[in-house]
């Protein structure tokens, strides 16, 4: 997994690319999250447009990111969730926990 980030209207958008599979991916995402939290940016969108696959550990990373942000008074939203990941979120019922949007713009607008 590769991770890049940008900012749009005061919201941090993280753009992982490839497969989210755990191991080094977890620490990469966590470090980035903590970096944001430390600089008081706790409204974060993960843009999953370029994530083609995610295993159970990958999903675990998303959950813990969500928990970390919420514990720090922030919010994590997902954007551009592919069908594959959407079905994963549906089966695990996490779709009710994560707010998922079809585009980054919609997700950013939801923070207003």
């Amino acid at each position: 997994m590769k991770l890049s980030s940008k900012e749009q209207a005061g919201v941090v958008i993280l753009e992982p690319k490839g497969k989210i599979m755990g191991g080094p991916d977890a620490s990469l995402l966590h470090d980035k999250l903590h970096e944001c939290i430390d600089s008081s940016q706790n409204q974060i969108i993960i843009d999953l447009a370029q994530v083609d696959w995610m295993n159970s550990t990958g999903l675990g990373i998303l959950i813990s990111s969500y928990t970390t942000l919420r514990n720090n008074g922030g919010h994590l939203k997902l954007a551009n969730v592919t069908d594959k990941i959407k079905s994963l979120l549906t089966i695990t019922k996490l779709v009710s926990v994560f707010e998922a949007f079809d585009s980054v713009d919609e997700a950013v607008a939801s923070f207003k």
Partner: protein, 752 residues
């Protein structure tokens, strides 16, 4: 051969060899006081026999000292007795200079006075007598001289009497002094042994001590016996004893020097000795064969005899090398202890370390080898500690605790730059502010032996000076450099071995966990009236994250669990064990399904991190009426294939277990009828991938179950597993794969 000639020849040989030894010992390390003193000692010891031999030869073979008494040569021959003060001096500075703090160093040479006095007395006795004669007054003398000398004459008379009696009894008086010296020397050598910890040096000293004692004993019997005891030895016995005393003590000193490299004297001695013996043998052979048999040769070959003798020379020259080697071999097997020879040190070291995998024992071997073979006084190890990821000075007798070195220490960096053994002094540029440098200095480290493999330094060995303050020779440094390479490979092997042991241990632990986990799974599906059940679970690694269980809730109800913990291996297995315990206690408490999952979620959340979660499906079949109550906590939807081919999914429930706190769960129920099939699985089945990364997929499962709904549960499981194998032949599967199939029997319908 007459006995006097033989005696003097023996004296000459022994004396010669002692002087040769003196030169070798001194030349080997001229700058060292110990070598100089030992050289002086051997020189004096060698002078004695030579003087005696010269005297014997000059006096025409009659009794050795008898005829010579009074001559200058006889007086000079006592010079050899300087040996005794030299021995005493030697015992003071070996193995440690115990007088080094003494302020007036030169005063120690005063112990030579008695021996000098004796020689002076014997050589100049004639002149002394003359002076006293001149000073002796006529009883009737008058005048100024008489006036001055008169009061002194009594004193002079007394002095002269003293000198003459000393002269007459010099053997007894100075013999006693010598004896005292030897006694003192033996005492000092004995007491000096407590300064020694090096096993090789201990054995050297033991040998030297025995030599001194034996020589002393024989000497006392031979030399003092004649003067102190009333019984007079025959002269022949006396000389034999003297020769024996010299032979024994010299022999032992020679053995100590060659065999144990006493005073660090190298093997040059052996080489030159061997050359001398070989040359002597060959020249002797030439003389015997060519000169002695010349007459025969001339008789046999006439004019050709000259040519034959040249031929002999050539043959003998050709024989020089093989004979030299042969003698060398003999000397080597007789004298040279394997541990003093560099090549043998290496061979022995390699043999020892090759089979040693315990780093601690390995260090003991290295320490022992360096101390015994190179006479290093102390060895200090600095090694990279994998635990703290820093270099550390390992504990030893001087420093009971491990000392971690700061990774930015300047000295450490300096040592890191080294490729070969180097003197500590040469690293003075890195001393500034370095606590490592300070410590090494305090511990008297003189030599640094870096241990480097291809890309990094494993550590280094610090060596103090050699025993008795010797510096390292270039030969030593070469040896150290080869030894350090050996150490690196030995230490690396040891580390790899320990790591492989660790891996084996971990593997064993995993196997044990696997056994425990298998114990948690039901050994066979329960027999239920009205339904037949089949279950099967294949872990991807030795310990998997999948789990299933059957529970007897009450007389009518049977509980079914299928779960999949995120991740694999040990953490997943532990989580599963927790889940199983919770379910069992919840069922025992008789909680409703939704409460049960809520409680379970809460417990798992508080016990683990949020990235670890479990997808879980729990259902209860009421065998009395065929109703199936369930809740699905984020698990792959179980498939209910009705007898008529319709498909339903059991979705109702809530979020995965263990991810988020305070989650609510809902339960639902379905009515099962005869020949309905309930098919539960984990994502190991749905996500099995072929080589094109195409998943087996839920849709294919739904279709397969629908098509095979008429099969009994075990056949259905077997056929879907073989279908999955066709899709993804990898074995064991990439992910844990668990399947439960439940089929309602016909007789149930009659019940409802």
């Amino acid at each position: 051969m007459n006995s006097e000639l033989f005696t003097s020849l023996a004296y000459c040989l022994i004396g010669g060899f002692l002087i040769f030894l003196a030169i070798t010992v001194t030349r080997d390390n001229l700058s060292n006081k110990l070598n100089r003193v030992t050289g002086g000692m051997f020189l004096c010891a060698g002078l004695g026999p030579i003087f005696v031999a010269m005297g014997t030869i000059m006096s025409g073979g009659s009794a050795a000292s008898g005829n010579l008494e009074g001559s200058v040569l006889y007086g000079l021959h006592h010079l050899w007795e300087m040996f005794y003060p030299s021995l005493l001096l030697f015992s003071w500075i070996f193995p440690v200079d115990r007088l080094r703090k003494f302020r007036y160093q030169r005063l120690r040479y005063l112990i030579f006075i008695p021996q000098i006095m004796q020689v002076a007395l014997l050589v100049f006795f004639g002149q002394i007598t003359g002076i006293f004669e001149a000073l002796r007054l006529d009883p009737g003398a008058e005048g100024l001289v008489a006036l001055i000398l008169k009061p002194l004459s009594g004193l002079l008379e007394w002095l002269f009497y003293l000198i003459s009696s000393l002269r007459n009894e010099h053997t007894a008086v100075f013999g006693a002094i010598n004896l005292f010296y030897v006694g003192a020397a033996v005492y000092f050598l004995e007491s000096g042994r407590k300064y020694l910890s090096n096993p090789r040096l201990l054995s050297q000293t033991r040998l030297v001590l025995w030599g001194t004692r034996l020589g002393l004993g024989l000497f006392v019997v031979a030399h003092l016996g004649t003067t102190v005891l009333p019984y007079q030895f025959p002269l022949a016995i006396k000389s034999t004893l003297m020769i024996l005393a010299l032979l024994v003590s010299t022999g032992i000193f020679i053995a100590a020097t060659i065999r144990y490299q006493f005073l660090d004297v190298r093997l040059i001695l052996r080489q030159s000795f061997v050359y001398t013996v070989t040359s002597g043998l060959l020249v002797g052979a030439y003389v015997l064969i060519v000169i002695e048999s010349k007459q025969i040769l001339i008789g046999l070959f006439g004019e050709q005899a000259e040519v034959i003798s040249y031929a002999f020379i050539i043959v003998i020259l050709l024989l020089f090398q093989p004979i030299n080697n042969w003698i060398d071999e003999i000397i080597r097997s007789m004298f040279i202890r394997t541990r003093t020879d560099h090549r043998n040190i290496l061979q022995r070291f390699s043999r020892q370390v090759i089979s040693q995998f315990d780093p601690k024992k390995l260090r003991v071997i290295i320490d022992d080898s360096l101390r015994t073979s190179l006479l290093v006084e102390k060895v200090l190890f600095v090694q990279f500690d994998d635990e703290v990821q820093e270099y550390a000075i390992l504990p030893d007798e001087d420093q009971p605790r491990r000392v971690v070195i700061d990774r930015n220490d300047l000295m450490l960096r300096g040592i890191n730059l080294l490729d070969a053994p180097a003197y500590f002094d040469s690293l003075s540029d890195f001393m500034e502010g370095s606590s490592l440098g300070e410590r090494l200095g305090e511990r008297g480290i003189k030599m640094i032996l870096p241990m480097k493999d291809a890309d990094h330094m494993l550590g280094f060995v610090g060596l103090t000076n050699k025993i008795a303050g010797y510096r390292y020779s270039s030969e030593d440094i070469n040896l150290l450099s080869v030894l350090s390479n050996q150490m690196v490979s030995a230490l690396t092997n040891a580390r790899l071995y320990v790591e492989s042991l660790e891996r084996i241990r971990l593997q064993e632990e995993v196997n044990m966990a696997r056994q425990i986990q298998l114990g948690l799974l039901p050994s066979e599906p329960p027999t239920v009236s009205g339904a037949s059940i089949y279950a099967c679970s294949t872990p991807s690694r030795t310990v998997g994250g999948d789990f299933y269980d059957f529970l007897r809730v009450n007389e009518d109800r049977i509980g079914i669990v299928i779960a999949d913990a995120s991740g694999k291996g040990m953490p997943a297995a532990l989580m599963i064990a927790q889940i199983q315990a919770i379910i069992r206690s919840e069922v025992n408490n008789g909680n409703r399904i939704e409460t049960m999952l809520k409680n379970m979620n809460q417990q798992v959340v508080s016990a683990s991190t949020s990235e670890k979660y479990v997808t879980l499906f729990y259902g209860e079949l009421d065998t009395a009426n065929g109703r199936f109550y369930y809740a699905n906590a984020g698990h792959n939807y179980p498939v209910l294939a009705r007898a008529n081919g319709e498909i339903e999914f059991l979705k109702e429930g809530g979020v995965v277990i263990g991810a988020l706190p305070s989650m609510e769960y809902r339960s639902a129920s379905v009515q099962l009828a005869s020949d309905d099939i309930l098919f539960l699985f984990t994502d190991g089945l749905s996500e099995a991938m072929d080589q094109n990364d195409v998943e087996y997929s839920e849709e294919r499962i739904h279709k397969f179950v629908c098509e095979h709904r008429h099969e009994c549960p075990d056949d259905l499981v077997a056929s879907i597993l073989s279908d999955m194998k066709d899709h993804d032949p990898i074995d064991p599967p990439r992910d844990d794969t668990t399947i439960i199939a439940l089929k309602m029997n016909c007789n149930l319908q009659e019940l409802t």
